[in-house]
Amino acid sequence: MDSKNNMDFWVFALDDPELRQFYAIQANNPSLNYVIYIQEASQVFSFKAKQVLRLRDECMLLIDSYLVPVFFNLPLKGYTVIMTEKFCKTKDTKILLQLSFFHSSPEGIIDFGNVNDEQKKYMNLLVEEYHHPYDDMQPPMLRNLIFNILLLSPTNNYNIQLKSGHLLSYALQFMELTNEYAFHHMKKAFYADKIGITEEMLTRALRVTYQKTFREIITCKVLVEGIKNLICTNKSITQIAHELNYDASDFNKLFLQWKGLSPTDIRTNYQKLISYAENTY
């Protein structure tokens, strides 16, 4: 690894052994965003794995860090772009990049859709720029390129976000608060109060910015935290539930309603996915 690391930005080919080394060091770093650009997924034969992981040719995904080992064990051709939160949240982000909402996606994968020709050109420029010797212009060059790629993603609604101004700032404040309070406060009034707006305003802000309701976002947060614990720790399901302020049966219900899978199923499935990737390829 070279001195580029002070930029908080890395690019690896998916079959690069250095990616494993990187992950071995950074596995527990929560502030890293992993964007995967898949050029070819044709060598992955399992239909189920492809479905679950949303693999297809010329697509872009944002994944949670616990899924990274699955991806670099599969025979995929493409790149991963890794950025710290610091790199993404420049003082200037007038638009809300999906990245900061990401941590509320329970599946651990956000699909940025299929990659068009223009995005491919930016991707090539990005890889080329990354290998250029470091100078003070490299961070903004890279940031502009990755932002352009994400802005062109068909699944984003930046034009709406640009118009909504103050609603956007309420939504952002709300997300910050949920990081602290999501597991102990389930009432809209609490959050609206903290921000200093009415409940109706908060509902509107969330609807316009994320197209989601308050309930959906809070549930998401619980699911995400639950899944992280299920996959990355050996705690019992009851223990996880209690830490998140749920009793065990409600916790189970939550998962069944979301995906039709129980927490135990999630745990087994993930282990199967990892061992499938390791053993098949």
Partner: protein, 305 residues
């Protein structure tokens, strides 16, 4: 585009360019615009920035007058700072123009930084950047093409304007890098040392695919003659000889330390197998096979004693 004919002096952005604060178009559009034609052929100042890109296919001499000085920009990029007195020549150039304002560009701290930081582009009245390096030219033209596709329709800030602004920023940074690569060093002694180091680095990177002195001279932005002068001063041999040295040393290393056969070694060096044979024999006085044999004999005899 300008709406009203103005005598000589300043043209503000509001009068002269698209309300979004950025405009990308070809020279012939400007030269056919009735109102613009009234103003551009006399000295004037504009409160916005100009980037001129002369097409590599342009058949005539592309000139521009900056503060009464004639500047030729064939196969080059010309950047004119704002508020500088300039005028267009009667003869049109085949190429592209990008005009942009501070308001459009300086929308974020990072971009404002770039404007006020020690950048060559924004310090000088104008900057002429020859497009010599093929790689740089491709990148610059790619950015220009991508920008042209995104000309805004109006003033509103959309995802499109953000993308366009990022492209402009990257284009300017690419040009700035090219400028910095050319700034002459202070003392000529440091010059030689600096270029020698750069040459060595480039050679290490590219020896397999590029063996011509002309390639390295272009990458270093100096003439072939100058490069040879430098290598002679530092190493007592010509640039070509230095490249040959590199090939030879690598070949010897591979012969001594690997079990690769002649054809494989030739491939690793990016040489045709027969040529490699001739090349090696000429420079060492024996064939690669004989060389290897000799090395083995020497090693065995040493260990036997």
């Amino acid at each position: 585009m300008p709406k009203t004919p103005i005598d000589i002096q300043r043209h503000t952005a509001e009068e002269a360019i698209h309300p979004s604060g950025i405009e990308i178009f070809s020279f012939d559009i400007l030269y056919r615009h009735e109102v613009a034609k009234q103003m551009i052929f006399t000295d004037h100042r504009s409160s916005f920035y100009h980037i001129f890109r002369c097409s590599p296919y342009c058949k005539n001499t592309c000139t521009h007058y900056v503060e009464d000085k004639e500047v030729v920009f064939n196969n080059s990029l010309l950047f004119i700072n704002r508020d500088i007195s300039h005028k267009y020549p009667m003869q049109m150039c085949d190429g592209f123009i990008v005009l942009f304002t501070d308001t459009f560009f300086a929308s974020t701290y990072e971009k404002i930084d770039f404007l006020s930081h020690n950048t060559t582009l924004f310090k000088n009245d104008y900057t002429l950047i020859p497009m010599q390096s093929a790689q740089c030219t491709t990148i610059v033209d790619l950015y220009l093409t991508l920008m042209k596709q995104r000309q805004p329709q109006d003033k509103t800030e959309t995802a499109n304007t953000i993308i366009l602004r990022n492209l402009l920023h990257n284009l300017l940074m690419t040009i700035e890098r090219e400028c910095r690569a050319r700034i002459p060093r202070i003392s000529s002694l440091q010059d030689d040392e600096y270029y020698m180091q750069q040459f060595k680095t480039l050679l290490d990177e590219h020896y397999q695919t590029h063996k011509q002195v002309s390639f390295y001279a272009t990458e270093l932005r100096i003439s072939e003659k100058r490069l040879s002068q430098i290598v002679y001063a530092k190493r007592g041999m010509s640039a070509k000889a230095f490249i040959n040295e590199k090939m030879l040393t690598t070949a010897i290393f591979l012969l001594q330390n690997t079990t690769l056969n002649q054809a494989e070694i030739a491939q690793k060096l990016g040489l045709d197998a027969i040529y490699f044979l001739k090349f090696f024999s000429k420079h060492t006085g024996m064939t690669p096979a004989r060389y290897r044999q000799q090395q083995e004999e020497e090693t065995t005899s040493i260990s036997a004693t």
